[in-house]
Symmetry: C2
Subunit: 691 residues, 2 copies
């Protein structure tokens, strides 16, 4: 319930003369964040952000260039400034905590274009204790109905040449490693050129980077620039003016170079700045979720967090193939039955089956429109007998819809494909968008595709289907609104362990929580237990760059309500003691404590299992070994817990000895502090069960 | 059943040395057409066509440029030359005749690219008595699977600077008037600039023209260059080298500039040349139909030629509106009921209703994706009560699906829209594609849209729905293959009578049968009985440029199995005696005789009603008055017929006195010759009923 409050107007706002610089400012509820708005005599609006007195964003511009009508919306008269506060709590359908506080002060500026267009718009700022978001709103008005965005002029001006965690700006791929350099040292083209394993790259230019973009300042601030509620609008990339430290929004163009087609009333996604002097606070931020709309799904009881295994990794490492031709077809009835048996035996919810449907002989790289029909199994895959077999065993098949980028084909067939799933009793789908998009000229990150992903979320919800999207655009908290859209890939996931060139570096998983994961759960597919990937092809040099204990810890540090158990059954059966952690670890939580974290170095998180007194902790490190301290103060006071600790041994090392681990049991209380030793590329996973 | 025969190989084909010019030639079954193939020492293949010894096509090039793989397919070795003959008859589901002879000699050249690509292709020539068609075929081969056509190099080289009937080449519109100039005088941009009434133009350039392209030579040949069976390929426009008289194929590009995405085995549409020394033979040609595949619809008994009226013209002339807003909504229950009453009273099959569904307030010009949903009537339109009312009266509502060019939206909703129709008992749909296409960057005439139109034809056939497509690409005889695709617009139709600038010139309908109609039936919407279009808005100066008798004659001269009766009921009720001809004229025929014709001047056609002894004749002229002689030798010998003649009076004139007509009855036999007087812009329509 917003209630109006006084905002600070430092100089005469509505009476402003052309020489005046009206200032409007507001703060976060706890005063740590300060937002200042200025308007020059020419009408140039800027915003400025500080955190506990330290500069976060120096005065930075706002506005648009429209191509229809042709007008530059960059000089404004401020018509009104309204403010309000909100403090509420809400409960997610699933997540890292069972209750989220949404507390902010809101400032809404109503602006009128100073040129002859007479266009009015609003900028809505919401200032939280851990950052702020703002968006542009175009109300219904006679002077503007349909319009086309040629460019968004939003800027983020940094106070210094910060340490920056970035990946190359790309219209079609977000499956890069992160680079860590000074802002002034960004060279996105050079970074992209080092990436040899990405099938499709549409690199924007040497100065363009993706969001979320993370900074660590010399005065120990952690700053993330991102977006929330990306709806009916292209992805926000950023162009970097390295000398002036100005980041300007670079929207993804469509086939003819336009950015967005909008109709009033409408609004942009939120542009977000999360800031803290504690890295752990940034990881715990709920700002992105809070800026999204509440769930549109009334009865969400059918949405169930899941752990699943799959007919998948064995294709990556050369044991089997997606396609039937060639004699190594993985998704045959007998093989999948074995997976169902394994899932049933060890208590997993689902079995993903890729390569089940006709079309894989000719699916990739040809920009071909009619590849898959999503309803025709290969003849050696008896879907009906398998779904029935799975049902008897309490396991469900997970459907796979690889579109091969041909989205027009998928859209034509979506209804039939989901009806087919419902008929077969399958209620989770993994979608894929590998390759160049059709409609040709559109990009994975453009407005047209953003609308497509949302359409899939909405349509799967209609059919009560849970969704896991791969090769889709970066998530921006829309899983609050569509809780059936449980996970997406949208980053370099574990499959890149199998990539010949760069693979997954040890630090990668220590950066993801500070960047990609701020937007939503990732189907990273952890749980690899075999580290040399030459199991079925002795010539392969690809390898996993972690220890086994780190693979376990990832189930805690990389949150997802759809968590894959990615390795082959035969590889798990060699380490059933360690495998026990994967069996036990939940995918839904009542509470989360980010204990310690530093981007690029380490992450230590503890979480309380949903509806249970048990806690779990996961610690991971980069290429350096490390000792972390874990105070168990989160445990219930006065109770005794048994901790089962899965850890690296003294001689464990991701390069030389990744598979060695120790499992220890300890009795602990909330007063205990554990010292965790992480090997190079290592980790530690702990289960705490109340006695 | 093709049987192999000897072809003339004038010089050593397979032993050809580099200095040799191997010649292969073949002729039409009746020897009138001669085709000669040459191959230079460099591998440049050319074809040459003559008719009764007169040059039609001088040696002209063949080939392709592919962008993937990057190869120029322009120099070939001839690997084989095979020939055969066909002489068969087939029966169309509906049409101008009930039996069509398909007689040709076929020559198939197997070619191998002389460059390193090793690509093989075939060129298949079919030489009929009235012209020829050839197409390129890419067989399955290891050296070519998926490929992208950057350009097709097919040329047509003319023997002289012929009189040419042309319209500007345009990727999105074929709704132009024809221009008649020497080939050397073509200026497509200037012609397009004169056209002020076309909402969307994508003019290719000053030297580009559309097909079908018609020539009349100084030595009295009529030549048409066109294409047949346009499937999975863009429309063929032509670029004109005026000095060298070379026409080169200009394919329509997609959003990224490519022309066609193909996969072996595949083939191009047929490139066709129809030629005759009799204009009437050109009009009677079945070459385009014969080059299309037989019907894919097994049981076609549900496909019924129809005459229909519609809630349509009153929107054009300002009595009503498509949109509900504004208070003049045409498609309200009461109005449509009146149309149903009128159709029932006068014996028409259908009532087209445009503006029935929500969305028209905001449908045009904004490149908006989600406009119509095709299932939501305006609240003042009670579809259920109307379909039931119509059913009682023996009339059917005709559905209207205006896509506003947003084809992605339509494709998403097609199944639901057709299911809705089936549920409502509606089995004919008029589709529309007004405005710029979405996927943005695609064109009405591009490969993606060609595939869409075919998809609509196939899907409507699945639902047993008859199809009439507007703003679609030029038809190429596919109504043989999909006889439910009964008509399309794809040219400037009668609605342009209401256009302020150029309108429909008197000659336009004398050119259409020689050009656009060669490809298939047109929903021209004849039958206007009121010529000043200021009925509901006294300021309007638009007018119809014909006499009333010519409007009647158009029902015979412009063949379509879906023929609209376009004017308002109140305008027909003022001329019920003349209206009787429209009530009587059939839309399906056993036989057709093109009695006299000259493009741009006049057309006189007689047709025998399907399953009846009655004949009908229609004669039209351009802006000149004219007397035509009609020998009735087609009537059954020895029988007496009553001829009802609807004709211009002596003082009728399209400009000064269009509404005056005479109706005469005469007794005639097959020995009678009638002399028909046509006023300026006039016509004559006759019904012959056996006594």
């Amino acid at each position: 319930m917003p209630n109006y409050l006084l905002i600070t107007i430092l100089s005469g706002l509505l009476l402003a003369k052309s020489y005046a610089q009206p200032l409007i400012s507001t703060t976060s509820p706890n005063q740590s964040i300060n937002l200042v708005i200025r308007n020059t005599s020419e009408g140039n609006i800027s915003y400025q952000v500080s955190y506990k007195g330290k500069a976060v964003i120096e005065p930075a511009g706002l506005g648009f260039i429209l191509s229809k009508p042709q007008v530059s919306l960059s000089r404004f008269t401020i018509i009104a400034a309204d403010s309000s506060t909100v403090d509420e709590n809400w409960q997610p359908v699933w997540g890292e905590t069972n209750r989220i506080r949404n507390q902010y002060k809101e400032l809404v500026l109503t602006l009128q274009d100073k040129s002859a267009s007479n266009i009015r718009l609003r900028i809505r700022f919401r200032v939280f204790n851990d950052g702020l978001g703002f968006r542009y709103e175009f109300p219904e008005q006679t002077t503007l109905t349909h319009f086309i965005v040629a460019d968004e002029l939003t800027q983020f001006v940094l106070a210094a040449d910060h340490k920056t965690f970035w990946m190359p700006g790309d219209y079609d791929s977000n499956e890069y490693l992160y680079n860590t350099t000074k802002l002034s040292e960004i060279d996105a083209v050079a970074a992209a050129d080092r990436e040899k394993d990405t099938a499709l790259k549409s690199v924007i230019g040497p100065d363009a980077v993706q969001t979320p973009l993370l900074f660590k300042t010399d005065n120990n601030l952690y700053i993330s620039i991102y977006e929330a509620a990306l709806v009916n609008y292209p992805v926000m990339h950023l162009r970097v003016d390295k000398s002036k430290r100005i980041l300007t929004v670079q929207l993804v163009p469509d086939a003819v170079g336009n950015k967005a087609y909008l109709q009033t009333p409408t609004q942009t996604p939120w542009r977000t700045i999360i800031v803290s002097d504690q890295a752990t606070d940034l990881l715990a931020s709920k700002l992105i979720l809070n800026l999204n709309e509440p769930s549109k799904i009334g009865d969400a009881s059918w949405i169930k967090p899941q752990k699943f295994i799959g007919m998948w990794w064995e294709m990556h490492i050369g044991k089997a193939t997606w396609e039937k031709a060639g004699g190594k077809h993985g998704a045959n009835t007998r093989n999948v039955m074995k997976y169902i048996d394994f899932a049933a035996k060890y208590g997993f919810d689902g079995v993903l089956v890729e390569g089940w449907n006709v079309g894989w002989e000719d699916w990739f790289g040809n920009w071909k429109e009619d590849v898959f029909d999503f309803v025709t199994p290969y003849p050696d895959y008896n879907l009906d007998s398998l779904t029935s077999y799975a049902r008897q065993k309490g396991v469900r098949i997970i459907m796979h819809h690889e579109t091969s980028g041909s989205v027009t084909n998928y859209e034509r067939r979506m209804d039939a494909a989901y009806q087919f799933m419902v008929k077969k009793g399958i209620n989770t789908v993994k979608t894929g968008y590998v390759g160049r998009i059709i409609p040709r000229g559109e990009h994975h990150d453009g407005q047209w595709m953003i609308n497509h992903y949302q359409r899939v979320a909405e349509k799967t919800a209609e059919y009560k289907i849970m969704l896991d999207s791969h090769e889709s655009a970066h998530p921006t908290g829309l899983h609050r609104t569509y809780p059936n859209w449980m996970a997406s890939e949208a980053a370099r996931g574990s499959e890149f362990n199998n990539a010949p060139t760069l693979g997954i570096t040890p630090e990668h998983t220590t950066i993801l929580p500070f960047t990609r994961l701020l937007g939503g759960p990732m189907d990273f597919t952890p749980g690899l237990f075999r580290f040399r990937l030459n199991q079925f092809d002795s010539t392969r040099t690809q390898r996993v760059r972690t220890t086994l204990a780190k693979q376990l810890a990832l189930y805690v540090t990389l949150y997802s309500p759809l968590q894959m158990v990615a390795d082959l059954p035969e590889n798990y059966e060699k380490h059933l003691d360690a495998f026990q952690f994967i069996r036990d670890v939940p995918v839904d939580w009542d509470d989360t404590k980010v204990v310690a974290a530093e981007p690029g170095d380490y992450v230590l998180i503890a979480r309380k299992a949903k509806g249970s007194s048990s806690w779990f902790a996961g610690a991971i490190t980069d290429e350096n070994s490390r000792d972390l301290s874990l105070s168990l103060s989160f445990l219930e006071l006065g109770n005794i817990y048994e901790a089962t600790i899965y850890r690296d041994a003294a001689n464990t090392d991701w390069q030389t000895n990744p598979e060695t681990y120790l499992i220890e049991k300890k009795t602990v209380t909330s007063k205990t502090t554990l010292s965790l030793h992480l090997a190079k590329g290592g980790g530690c996973a702990i289960q705490f069960v109340k006695r």
